[in-house]
Subunit: 158 residues, 2 copies
């Protein structure tokens, strides 16, 4: 599968408000997850105030990036696995069931974070990905995201 | 042990800049963790833009709150366990080694979140806590935080 745009730009409008990665959230992080070969990639430059302790990135932000990159990656891997051609507004939308983050070492502030996702397990409604964050070629954080496929009518029956 | 102030107000200045809970971070969430009996408690009202999908709180924020409540709780439980009397600026400071968050159901937006922490394991440099988030009496998220004691001179040797 080829995918030129980030998956978050292909979510349906109703599902594109996420603070972490929604293109329609004006206050959010706007994380963008791309497919590169068999892996998913995104980058992020934390703000100065995304601090844990002087010089290091806040762990909650790192967990958030892993979360959104994980659900975005799940969408891409699910489409690949099921032969779905993603066009505008039809990307499958996943939410997080479990998020497991291990902080291997402090992540320095002021540098671009490179986030990589890899498919670990896939079934009819669940995708498990392994996500890592590198800074200057060193992995500082590893995560595992268990993502659950959102029913198409979620939030539309009111 | 009695503790009237939230633990985050008793961190040393150098360790009080965390985006999630630092009193000195002007952009942050300012989470405040209190001791109540054998449990730790905090509350948080998400902003309208802390959205995942319409009507529901962003999972990355929930993970962040569990993270900060976990390290704050670790500080309190560690002091209790070791007979440390916490006075201004001497609270032990923990960082997260592992954060495991399970999203049991969507967390509705617009309501106060009640966050509760419980001690699970404690050793010389590590405290494991179980954290839950309730909304209107229903638990929507559960987490486990493995927190590591920060060396006293961390960040001061430059």
């Amino acid at each position: 599968m080829k995918l030129i745009e980030p998956i978050q730009d292909l979510y349906q409008e109703d599902f594109a408000h996420c603070y972490g990665c929604g293109r329609l959230n004006e206050y959010g992080h706007h994380l963008k997850t791309y497919l590169e070969g068999d892996l998913t990639k995104s980058t992020f430059l934390p703000k100065d105030y995304h601090i844990a302790i002087e010089g290091f990135v806040y762990g909650g932000l790192l967990a958030s990036l892993i979360d959104c990159h994980g659900t975005g990656s799940a969408s891409i891997f699910y489409a690949m696995h099921n032969g779905i051609t993603i066009t505008k507004d039809n990307a499958p939308r996943f939410v997080t069931g479990n998020l497991n983050v291990t902080y291997l070492k402090p992540t320095p502030l002021g540098k671009e974070l490179k986030i990589t996702g890899e498919l670990k397990e896939i079934s009819r409604k669940k995708v498990i990905t392994s996500i890592k964050i590198d800074v200057d070629g060193n992995c500082t954080v590893k995560g595992k995201v268990t993502a659950i496929l959102l029913p198409e009518n979620f939030g539309k029956v009111k």
